[in-house]
């Protein structure tokens, strides 16, 4: 019985080693994947915020553009971490669309948390058109993307 266990352990170790050597091909978390997920999410949440604030959504809807880069050490612009920065197009109340930066933390699972500039997109709770307090969708938001 001990020999069986030893054999099984050996096989498992070999499998892990094999998987390890095969996995040296870079990270699942890339700027392209993050941009394709975060851009449309920001657009949807902006529309949601405008509906909360004004009852209707008559502000200009932003595009789904996003530009993400990983700061910190030379990581080749990929990999999980909390040092990602994403630029998105934010239509300011004045009517001018300007790029704003979100600080993004990306987990290895492909889920991220983006925190925006509160001075521009508002605090965590905002006063809605209906007089009630609402969760501000743009203050901080989560999202996930496929990592393969």
């Amino acid at each position: 019985m001990n020999r069986t266990v030893a054999r099984a352990a050996l096989a498992a170790a070999a499998l892990v080693l094999l998987a390890g050597t095969a996995g040296c091909g870079g990270s699942d978390i890339t700027s392209g994947r993050l941009e394709r997920a975060l851009g449309p999410t920001f657009r949807n949440l902006f529309v949601l915020q405008q509906t909360e604030l004004h009852g209707t959504d008559n502000a200009p809807s932003p595009d789904t553009w996003a530009n993400c880069a990983k700061a910190g050490r030379a990581s080749g612009g990929s990999g999980p971490g909390d040092d990602w920065v994403c630029l998105v197009h934010w239509p300011a109340p004045s009517g001018i669309t300007q790029p704003i930066a979100y600080e993004v933390s990306v987990r290895p699972t492909g889920c991220y948390t983006a925190q925006g500039p509160a001075s521009l997109v508002g605090q965590q709770r905002i006063q809605g058109a209906d007089g009630h307090q609402h969760t501000n969708p743009l203050y901080e938001f989560d999202g996930c993307f496929d990592t393969a």
């Binding site: 449309p40 999410t41 657009r43 971490g81 889920c111 969708p137 393969a148």
Partner: protein
């Protein structure tokens, strides 16, 4: 006469698996531990929501945590995010890690093996009973958290992971489907619990073993390590439901997760069965 002789095909009665299975279920439902876990799964989500309602803060470090005050459908998804971290391995192991080792604890192997049931029948019946408990626990926790959310918070539309707004009915469907998605890895941990139970012959080791393995896998997934290994971990499929909660859903993690869970289940059950078959019970 050795116990091995009892495994002769001539002594194999019909309907043996069913008898073992029903008997195991009867034993399980009589245990206070099993009843407590079932009640906990159903009631804990209500306590969770009531605790949230007394304060303004939100569990924003969990997906959908920001929305727990805005829609009841966020509740089952937050609970799912929590439970996947460590809860499911522990809940399912409470039975799976104990179901074989309890025979060692009570010294009843010789007794049940002389009841003209083969080891294969006893193994199958016990594994089926452990799997049934796993399904029941997931179903109770899922139903409990959906009910807690809808009854205590409401059935407002849900903001999905891509920022799109999901109407009430569809949100309920998605919450149910998300809970279904954790069944394969939960059953994988059940199989792991069975293996620990047979290999260690000790209930405590059988219960804590899978929990430790789950925690180690979670730890590995959080460090910036090789992605290929992370895809092969049994805890990764617990996150597969993320792909459903988007206007443009992706199913790759779900398919991959089912394959990984099936592989773990088959390997653990095969290893467990081999250990049980080769064990010499005459030594006591």
């Amino acid at each position: 006469m050795t116990a091995l002789a009892l495994d002769e095909p001539a002594a194999r009665p019909r309907g043996g698996v069913r008898t073992v299975y029903l008997w195991e279920l009867e034993k399980l439902t009589a245990q206070w531990r099993v009843r407590a876990v079932a009640a906990l799964c159903l009631l804990a989500p209500f306590a969770f929501v009531l605790a949230l309602k007394t304060q303004d803060t939100v569990p924003s470090d969990t997906l959908f945590g920001r929305w727990v005050h805005d829609t009841g459908y966020a509740v089952p998804l937050v609970v799912l995010g929590f439970a996947g971290q460590w809860g499911f391995p522990l809940l399912t192991s409470v039975v799976a890690g104990d179901i074989f080792a309890s025979e060692d604890h009570h010294g009843t192997w010789q007794t049940i093996l002389t009841r003209s049931r083969t080891r294969a029948q006893i193994f199958t019946g016990k594994v089926l009973a452990a799997a049934t408990f796993c399904v029941v626990v997931v179903a109770l926790a899922g139903a409990g958290s959906i009910a807690a959310g809808v009854l205590l918070v409401g059935h407002q539309p849900l903001v999905a992971l891509d920022g799109s707004l999901v109407p009430s009915g569809r949100a309920a469907e998605l919450a149910l489907l998300s809970w279904l998605c954790v069944l394969p890895p939960a059953l994988g941990f059940t199989a792991l619990g069975v293996l620990f139970s047979i290999a260690t012959r000790h209930s405590a080791a059988g219960i804590t073993g899978p929990v430790l393995v789950g925690l180690l896998m979670q730890l590995y997934a959080y460090v910036d390590a090789l992605d290929v290994v992370r895809h092969a971990l049994l805890t990764t499929p617990f996150d597969a439901w993320h792909g459903l909660l988007s206007a443009t859903p992706y199913y790759r993690p779900l398919v991959e997760g089912c394959a990984v869970s099936a592989a773990y289940t088959v390997v653990c059950l095969a290893a467990g069965y081999l250990l049980l078959r080769r064990r010499d019970f005459t030594k006591g």
